[in-house]
Amino acid sequence: MGYKSIDEINEKIKSGKACIFTAEEIIDLVEEKGLKQAAKEVDVVTTATFGPMCSSGAFLNFGHSDPPIRMAKVWLNDVPAYAGIAAVDAYIGATELSEKRGMEYGGAHVIEDLISGKDVRLYAESYGTDCYPRKEIDTYINKDNINQAYLFNPRNVYQNYIAATNSSEKTIYTYMGTLLPRCGNITYTTSGQLSPLINDPFYRTIGIGTKIFLGGTQGFVAWEGTQHNPQQDRGENGVPISSSGTLAVIGDLKKMSTRFIRAAVFPNYGATMFVGIGIPIPILDEDILLKAVVKDSEIFTFIIDESVPKRSKPSFKKVSYAELKSGLVDLNGKKVPTAPLSSIKKAREIALLLKKQIVEGEFLLTEAVSKLPSTNKINTLEIRGCEK
């Protein structure tokens, strides 16, 4: 039975009477009050994550020069941007690398520089047309003079993820950080009990159109993320064991802050971007609250051997986030140190900030426009011979 609607929660927010907790704070409250009473009293639970999310980037519209150009190739601070769209539109991907500086500077750094208000060098070439005669442009843009800039990240907010180790004899450099030989360390990368989709495992409230905190401003869930895989094996509490659901998100880059978006480089792997995201979960009934009080000890993932260069990598064992966060995990009789890659400190900061924004009436909740898919087949890429 439902206790309240999103409209009713928004009315309470507007009148300053809403009752809001973070996904960590709510655990103790429910233990104290019981699920039924807490579900009646609590209106919103805030969740958050701040992790490296490669599948990120920004659409830019530069505005038209005089005479105008139909940009065919675009570089921003020597990082190529995709320009195969309209005349002055481009997409800068977070992981694209600088043609001059290589791995130390990528698309994520261009995005961070734009957010921080720095000038970014725009160089573009064209073949010239009757309507767009200019063939080359070399100038500077920044977030104040560019016509539009919005982040559109095709895959963020992974609902759980693997933990990684390396059984080989040499150090390997991966998107899961530097993995030491002979299982010298284990890295993991979700905020566990604070992570948005772990707290709403069947996507009951988070859906297409949900308003979210994105990089310091209000953004939206645009679509299910790429590789959205809701049919992953789940525990009894509904939480997927290993990576599953994902979100595509969108928001105005001009209003973002480098406090919540940071360019990153994983050594010998490449550029990526730390993205800070917070998502409010409206507590409409007991079941929604029950899922949102999930604890690190009830969330599991697999430790995968990243040294095996295959699509399907072998797993060592299943572990809980409580074990991972303890700092040491037993692997074949050896105590292996663990390290997070996603900032739990930053995730807490975002969950608390989102709570504050809701308390102060700056952030109202939205009903999803459409549900995220609950079934989805993941296709792999099979290699077929091509005619040369």
């Binding site: 530097t178 993995l179 994983f266 390290a339 890659l341």
Partner: protein, 135 residues
């Protein structure tokens, strides 16, 4: 009074000698062992802070050399730009001495300079480049 950080390597033939004992007893030096990897029939490695009078440190090091110990004095240190750090924890994955650790109460990164052996692994592992080496 002066303190230096030293990395020492000694061969299997001298691994059984009480070298730190002599540094302390004969040269009146304080030896604070930060990291040790010593075992019978293998090359030993020791990283320590050595404190004492400058001339005593010098003759102590001379003694180590005579005993066949190879040593290296660290004259660099790690600089952590804490204000720009996002506290992700990637550096803690590679830190061999536990100098870089997560504080479990608030998940902040903590840096214990005493334990740092300036191996520089954190400089490469930090995704946002807030770790560097002083020159």
């Amino acid at each position: 009074m002066k303190t230096i950080k030293v990395s020492m390597r000694f061969g299997q033939e001298i691994v059984t000698k009480p070298l730190t004992y002599h540094l302390i007893k004969d040269y009146n030096l304080e030896v604070n062992i930060l990291n040790a990897n010593v075992g019978l029939n293998k090359i030993g490695q020791l990283i320590a802070d050595i404190s004492g009078e400058e001339d005593k440190i010098n003759i102590g090091l001379e003694f180590l050399k005579e005993q066949g110990v190879e040593f290296k004095i660290f004259n660099r240190s790690i600089i952590w730009q804490e204000e720009n750090c996002v506290h992700c924890g990637a550096c803690t994955a590679v830190c061999p001495t536990g100098a870089l650790k997560m504080d479990k109460s608030d998940w902040s990164l903590t840096f214990d300079r005493e334990k740092c052996v300036v191996c520089e692994l954190c400089v490469g592992a930090c995704p946002i480049k807030v770790m560097s080496v002083s020159i």
